[in-house]
Structure formats: structure tokens, C-alpha cells
């Protein structure tokens, strides 16, 4: 992939993370829980967004991020007070910022009015127009360069090197252009360069500056060492020498000055243009390329240093040293001018003297001189370090994971079948084959868990979209709402997560639009103006439970009942518990909104939510307290691929009951079973009566129930908390089964959640416990729900 595009993708990925962090920080700021570090983190996030946007020339995003960043900076530095109003403005602006990022990514554009509105609000916080374009002006010209410079990739630089001169020329950096500028246009400049000790303390080196200067044209370097004290008074931390350089170049003063950009505050620098053409030895066409000249000049500079070293050291500078210590154009050729020089000087001069007068008082880079033996382990460490610093994740195509999961699913089945065959073959349980199979089973289980873990992701990715949604709905409905989220780190299978988004979105809209009162209504009810909606995720009993709770008005039961009767969903005289009335809202064709609003009333009712949850093998229920609010509870399997089940026999069918729903199993005693109205059985389990459902009858395998005493009762609990005892003939055992969707392969059947393939290769149906329990409870004739006995 084009590296430019690849980095851009990284940028947008990072933006998602940054925006998430920023939003959390902003929410904390709004609730007054933000400390300095939180505010700083928000600033940094926006700052990074802007930085990346700058690199990619995303003007709209830069502009918006810039003003956002400015506000954050003011808050961070204490110049602006973080009021509720400011926090709310920032949150609104944040949504626009996120839109800008999305627009930049998708090549769209944020609606002008929206962007301008938020921009204006932020500007308003800063007050005044002062800096506006100024702050950006400096960068603007740089932005223009970026696309060009990234094109150095590939075709231009096959060898992995940049032709720096060509690049410089392209980028508008002025360098002498050989064979183009006639020699007689070269001006002569005199540069006096006197470093101060501070310059060396910052790891700048005079030699490098001279080398840089030589890139501009021919130089004649004179070393001024008059202030150099005798050796015994020399301090390693002081700067003693300076240089006078005559430079022949067609560059202007600004370009020359740029060479000294990093050091100009730490040196005395005088740059003067000589009045006349260089009188002596003006470079005529000597056939040398610029590089050669630069090299030669560097050599001259180095020669002076060498001479100096030699003099200080009392030795003779080897004249032939010069050509060998030429400073080439970096970075291909490591220009070890100073280091090489020192090495050479050390060979001719007494060591202590040689070291003292080097331009840099600090030791030269060890890299150049490091012994090979020491370098080897160090290099190994160097290789390990970046790996540790970089994130240790890989990205894998989801299809591959799914193929793996499917294969593991088959493995589980195959392993079960094999176990069964071995068992049937009459081999002793202690036989080697059986023992080996047990190990295999454990291993299979472990593989399966590991594979499932690959797909597990925190629900955060869905939750993080909700604060924004809450703000938008609140804005549209004129309500005030605070969304509190918990358990974002709760992990669940990726497919489940993806399909959670819609139901949660719908329920959240519903909660704010219908559940919460408007501020006046809340005031009348004696509640704070701001409504609270809690969104919570947790693991419970091998499932993930999502709760959405509001502190609004709760379900208006008489009204719900009235509507249900009017729509013909229930009969007028039907007796329903509060819970059952509440749950009427999930029935198809039920909608309580009198005015179809923009938000919840999109032709989608709660029945659609329930269907999509059920499609995931989940349940949804509501509990409500009038005047205090409602709570929606969704419960979903952690994975859609496997299930721990209890294999049972009913009406000669092998069926699987999800283990998560099972409380206990028992053998019914005849005296504990009672019949209500002569036909609906209930069983007494300790002090409670629960319905006794004959599974064979419920699923239509047979007409009449078996004698309870001849079978086994499996006590199950539905998501809604309702209990029932399922009557089956026998329990075969506990087993992990691979779920095969019935809907995908056949069609949905009431009371059946899915199917699986057992060890003997037969298909078994997986019971939908909740459906069985609720169907039983819905029967209008008798409602033998739990009743306390006085005994």
C-alpha cells in the first residue's frame, strides 16, 4: 500500500482512540470529576488530532481542532474557568470535531452551518479574534510540502536513499544549483562564528555547523584560536575557539542564517556580504562538483583543527591526514570528522592533550568508537527495544478467525463422537485410550476457550457511541440528561457486540424520549432537572447482561393496558400482573408514543428490539416503578457458537437445555404435584409452587403428559426471573454443544432456540427455556405463578 495512505489510515484509527479518550475526559469535565491530568489528556488528544490533520493537509479539521485546542489550552493553563456552560459547549463542539474527522476520512464535508456554529461558540469562549489565522499561518506553507515530500517513496528512491539535493530543490530550499548558476553570480560572504560554551552543552557541534555551511558553496575557513589558553588552564566545559569563514554562494543571507538556526542564540554570529567579487582565487570552472567542493572545504576546516590539535599537543599533524577525514554529505557516509580527527590526533599526540581542545567538550558519540565486542550485545538489545515499545497486537481478518472457530466447533463434535464410540466399544475407563481421550477433551476445551477469547471484545466499542446519542436526543427533546455508563470493559463475542448496537441505541432513545420527563415535569415531580440514564454491562451466569435504567416517569400501566386492549393485543377482562403489563410494550404493533416523534418513532417499536435480541439467543425484559423510572434488562449469550447444556430425553427425543438456565433437577414426588383447574400441573419445590411443564407436550411431541413421578423435573429460571419445572423422562448428562442456528437452516420454532449435533452424529434441539416458561405463564386460563405456602 502507498505508505502515505497507510499512515493516513493509522491516523484515522488513532483518531478514533483519541476521540474516545477525549470524550471520556470531556464527560468527566462536565460532571466536575476531571483532574488536571484528565484535562491535559483531552488537550493532548485534540492536539494530536490537529497534528496529524496538519500533516495530511486536512484544512477543515485543522481549523476546527485548532480552536478546540486553544480553548483546552486556556482551561489547562487556568486562564479560562471550567464552568458547566464551557463543558457543555465543548461537548457539543466535540461532536462536530468527530464529524470533521469522519468527513476527512470519508471524503465528505461537515454541514457548514453546524461546523460554523460550533466554531463560533468555541471562538466565543476564547473571546475576540486576536490570533485567528496567525497561529495557523506559519504552518500553512508547510502543509503544502507534505504530499510532495511523502512522494519520495518508492519510485523516486529505489535505493532507499533520498537525493537530498533534489529534494531540497523541490521543496524550495535554496541550495547551490550546479551548472545552473553562473559562477559570476556567486557572492562572497564573511561569517564570523564564535560559539559559546552553552552551544556545546546542548550537544551542538561547531564542526557540523561548518559542514552545513559548506553545503551552500565554497568555504575558506580560518580558525581563530587567540583566546585559547595554555593547556594547563584549559577547561573542558569552556569554548575558546572561533572561526572566520569566507563563503562563496548564490544563497541569500536568510539561507546562511538558517544554517545557524539551532545555535544562533548560543554563539556570536556576524554575517556580512563582501563588497566585491572574491578577488583571490574566485572559483572558476574547475570541474569540481559542489559535493567535491564541500568536501574539500570541510577538509580545510578539519585541517585547521588538526593543525591546532597538533600544536596544542606538541606533535606534528600528519599532513596526509586531511584527505582521509573529509566530511562527506551525510547521512549515507557517517561524517565522523571530529571523532576520526580525535582518533588520529591521539595517535600522534599525548592522549590527555589530544582530548582537551576538541570543539565539543563532551565525549564524541560512542557509537563511532565503540568496540565491536561491546556493540554486538548492545545491538541485540536495540533490536529488542522497538518491539517492546510497539504494541504487541496483530490484526487478523475476521474471516480467518471464524474459519478457525468453525473448525474448532467441528473438532468438539468429532471429539465427542470419538469418546462415545470408545465408550460403546466397551473399553475400560482406565484404558490408555480412554485416558488419552480425556486429555484430548481437556485440550479441545482449552483450544475452544482460547479461540473464543480471540473474538471477545469489550462492549466499550458500542458504549462509546452512546454519550453522543444521548446528547443529541436530549437536545432534540429539550430534556436534560446525564448518561452514566458502567462495565464498558465487559467482554463478549464480537458478533454479539455488533448486533448490540441497534437495540441499545433504540432503548436509549426510548428512555430519553419517553422515559424521562421534561425539566418542568421533573420539577413538578420533585426530581432534579437533569435526568439520569444508566447503561450497565455485566457478566452473570455465563451470559452478558445489559441494563438500561432511567429515573423518569416509569411505565404508565393504565395507559399501556388501554392501548393493548384497543389494539386487540389482550382482552378487556384479562388479568395481568404489573410485570406482564410492562412487558406488553414488546408486543408487535404496540407503540405508546402519541406523537410520532423524530427520535423514537421511526416505525420501529420495542417488538423489533426484542426480536433482534432474541435472534441473538437473548432475552429482554422491563421492570418499572411508576414515577421512579424503568429498567430494561437484556441478557445475551457470551458467544453464539457454543453452549453448555444438559442433555435430556423427552418423548424419545434427545434435547438440550442450556445449563445457564438450570437451577436444579429433582425427581417429583406424586404428593408434591397438584393440578389447577384439573389440567395445569404445578409442583411444590420446598415452599414454592412452580408450573410443571411437560416438555414433550409443550413442543408438540405428544398429547398427554407423562406421570411426573416417572420422570425428572428440571427447575429452570427465565431471564425475567420466572421459574418453572420442565418435566422430562431422563437426564443423559452435561455437555458442551456447538450451536447450529435453526433459523439459518430451517425456520424459527417457538420453544426451540437452536440445534446441535451430538456425539453420535444425531441432531438435537436446544430448548428455549424462556419461551417455554413464558408461554406457560401467558396462558390466560390459569396463572399458577409462584405462591407462598403458609406451611
Amino acid at each position: 500500500m502507498d505508505p502515505f495512505e497507510s499512515i493516513k489510515q493509522t491516523f484515522f484509527q488513532e483518531c478514533d482512540e483519541l476521540l474516545t479518550d477525549a470524550e471520556q475526559g470531556l464527560l468527566a469535565m462536565e460532571s466536575g470529576e476531571a483532574d488536571d491530568e484528565t484535562i491535559n489528556a483531552v488537550f493532548r488528544a485534540v492536539h494530536s488530532v490537529k497534528g496529524g490533520a496538519g500533516a495530511f493537509g486536512l484544512e477543515d479539521l485543522i481549523r476546527f481542532a485548532h480552536v478546540f485546542e486553544t480553548v483546552m489550552d486556556e482551561i489547562r493553563s487556568g486562564k479560562m474557568e471550567l464552568t458547566d456552560e464551557v463543558a457543555k459547549t465543548l461537548l457539543r463542539a466535540f461532536d462536530v470535531l468527530a464529524d470533521h474527522v469522519a468527513a476527512a476520512r470519508d471524503g465528505g464535508k461537515v454541514e457548514e452551518g453546524r461546523s460554523q456554529g460550533a466554531y463560533g461558540e468555541l471562538r466565543g469562549l476564547i473571546g475576540g479574534e486576536e490570533e485567528d489565522d496567525d497561529a495557523m499561518g506559519g504552518g500553512d506553507e508547510d502543509f503544502g510540502f507534505v504530499p510532495l515530500t511523502l512522494s519520495i517513496e518508492g519510485e523516486d528512491a529505489p535505493g532507499g536513499f533520498i537525493d537530498l539535493d533534489a529534494q531540497n530543490a523541490e521543496a524550495g530550499v535554496e541550495l547551490p544549483a550546479p551548472d545552473q548558476a553562473p559562477q559570476d553570480e556567486l557572492a562572497s560572504w564573511t561569517v564570523e562564528f564564535s560559539p559559546k560554551s552553552e552551544m556545546y552543552a546542548k550537544a551542538n557541534e561547531a564542526g557540523l555547523v561548518l559542514r552545513e555551511l559548506a553545503r551552500l558553496g565554497e568555504t575558506r575557513v580560518t580558525l581563530i584560536d587567540e583566546t585559547l589558553p595554555p593547556l594547563d588552564q584549559l577547561s573542558a566545559e569552556q569554548a575558546y575557539v572561533s572561526w572566520r569563514i569566507q563563503l562563496f554562494t548564490d544563497s541569500d543571507e536568510a539561507s546562511i542564517r538558517e544554517v545557524f538556526e539551532f545555535v544562533e542564540d548560543d554563539c556570536n554570529l556576524i554575517i556580512t556580504r563582501d563588497g566585491a567579487e572574491p578577488s583571490v582565487a574566485a572559483p572558476t570552472d574547475d570541474g569540481l562538483s559542489d559535493d567535491d567542493r564541500a568536501a574539500a572545504d570541510s577538509a580545510n576546516a578539519d585541517l585547521d583543527i588538526a593543525a591546532l590539535l597538533a600544536r596544542v599537543g606538541g606533535g606534528d599533524a600528519p599532513a596526509e591526514a586531511a584527505p582521509e577525514i573529509v566530511a562527506e554529505a551525510p547521512p549515507e557516509a557517517p561524517a565522523e570528522d571530529v571523532a576520526a580527527l580525535i582518533a588520529r590526533a591521539q595517535s600522534v599526540a599525548p592522549p590527555p592533550a589530544a582530548k582537551a581542545p576538541t570543539p565539543a567538550p563532551t565525549p564524541p558519540p560512542v557509537a563511532a568508537a565503540a568496540p565491536a565486542a561491546a556493540a554486538a550485545p548492545a545491538a541485540a538489545a536495540a533490536n529488542a527495544a522497538p518491539a517492546a515499545a510497539a504494541s504487541v497486537t496483530i490484526r487478523v481478518d475476521l474471516d480467518r478467525v471464524d474459519r478457525l472457530i468453525n473448525a474448532v466447533g467441528e473438532l468438539v463434535i468429532q471429539q465427542a463422537m470419538l469418546s462415545q464410540r470408545v465408550l460403546e466399544s466397551g473399553l475400560a475407563r482406565s484404558s490408555n485410550v480412554a485416558l488419552g481421550l480425556e486429555d484430548l477433551e481437556l485440550l479441545t476445551r482449552e483450544i475452544q476457550d482460547s479461540v473464543m477469547a480471540i473474538r471477545a471484545q469489550p462492549v466499550k466499542s458500542v458504549f462509546q457511541r452512546m454519550p453522543r446519542l444521548a446528547r443529541e436526543v436530549a437536545d432534540m427533546t429539550g430534556k436534560r440528561v446525564k448518561l452514566v455508563m458502567e462495565g464498558e470493559g465487559t467482554e463478549v463475542d464480537k458478533t454479539v457486540i455488533e448486533r448490540l448496537a441497534d437495540p441499545i441505541t433504540h432503548m436509549l432513545r426510548n428512555a430519553i424520549d419517553h422515559g424521562l420527563e421534561d425539566p418542568e415535569g421533573r420539577a413538578e415531580a420533585g426530581k432534579p432537572a437533569e435526568g439520569v440514564v444508566r447503561l450497565r454491562a455485566l457478566h452473570r451466569g455465563g451470559r452478558i447482561v445489559i441494563e438500561l435504567q432511567d429515573d423518569g416517569r416509569g411505565i404508565n400501566r393504565p395507559r399501556v393496558r388501554g392501548i393493548a386492549v384497543a389494539r386487540g393485543l389482550i382482552t378487556e377482562d384479562q388479568v395481568l400482573s404489573d410485570e406482564e403489563i410492562d412487558n406488553l410494550i414488546f408486543l408487535p404493533g404496540f407503540s405508546t408514543a402519541e406523537v410520532i416523534s423524530d427520535i423514537s418513532g421511526r416505525g420501529v417499536g420495542m417488538d423489533v428490539v426484542r426480536r433482534s435480541i432474541q435472534g441473538l439467543g437473548g432475552r429482554i425484559s422491563i421492570s418499572s416503578e411508576p414515577g421512579k423510572g424503568s429498567k430494561f434488562t437484556m441478557s445475551l449469550p457470551l458467544t453464539l457458537a457454543v453452549l453448555d447444556g444438559m442433555v435430556v430425553t423427552a418423548a424419545e427425543q434427545t434435547l438440550v437445555a442450556p445449563l445457564s438456565a438450570i437451577v436444579e433437577s429433582l425427581t417429583p414426588r406424586t404428593e408434591d404435584v397438584h393440578y389447577i383447574g384439573g389440567k395445569d400441573a404445578v409442583i411444590r419445590i420446598r415452599d414454592t409452587f412452580v408450573p410443571l411443564i411437560d416438555v414433550g407436550v409443550a413442543l408438540g411431541f405428544r398429547e398427554t403428559a407423562i406421570d411426573p413421578a416417572s420422570g425428572v423435573a428440571v427447575l429452570v429460571e427465565s431471564e425475567g426471573g420466572g421459574k418453572a419445572a420442565l418435566l422430562v423422562e431422563a437426564i443423559q448428562g452435561q455437555r458442551q454443544v456447538v450451536i447450529k442456528s435453526l433459523e439459518a437452516n430451517y425456520q424459527q420454532i417457538d420453544g426451540v432456540a437452536a440445534a446441535t449435533i451430538l456425539g453420535d452424529g444425531r441432531v438435537a434441539l436446544i430448548l428455549d427455556v424462556d419461551a417455554l416458561v413464558t408461554t406457560q405463564r401467558r396462558k390466560p386460563a390459569a396463572r399458577p405463578s409462584e405462591k407462598r405456602m403458609a406451611s
Partner: protein
Amino acid sequence: MSKTVLTIDDSRTMREMLNHALVEAGYRVIQAVDGVDGLEVLQANAGQVDVVITDINMPRLDGFGVIEGVRANPEHRATPILVLTTESDAAKKERARSAGATGWIVKPFNPVKLVDAVRRVAA
């Protein structure tokens, strides 16, 4: 021997851009994700790093802290440090300078300027 540059930046995008431009120019690049990490990586690669490029705004330890940390360590004090500044913020640049920064690169940088700056300080 190609020179080694240690880049310290909390932004993955920026690290990738630096990496791309520097590798393209023939440097070896080591990355660190914040100031603390940067100093640790520098220590782990003692004697191997020719130039340090650091961002200013970072969690845990900012760029100024990095500069001070490098300059305070006799082993690394001669290592050139380039700071990345987003805005041509004079105050920040000055603060970095007085802490001991060797030079600076103004973001958004273009690779030519970046490589120029590295060459200028890399012995």
C-alpha cells in the same frame, strides 16, 4: 554504519511518519511512546542512539523532562536532541532550548526538513 534515531512521541501517526521519513533517508529508527519509555529505551540502547527526536506534549513525562533526563545523564548528555513543536511556539521552543535541546522541528514537518535537521545535529 547507519545512524540511529530514537523517536519519542505518544502519537502513533507521528511515530509512523517520523519512522517512514527517517528510514527512507537511511537511518535506523527506534520508537518510544512517551517520555518515560523514551528514557528507558535510550538507556537500553546506551551508546547506540545518535539523535533523539522528542515530542513535547506527552503523558507521564513530557519532552522537557526527556531533555532534562538526557542531559543529566553523563552517558547521554552529548546526544543531540531535536524537539517537535507543533506551533512555532516561541515560549516552548525557548524552554526546550534552555533545558538543553539541540534543535527543533516545527510540525507539521516535511521529511526534507526533518532529515535536514537530523543531519545538522548528527555527528
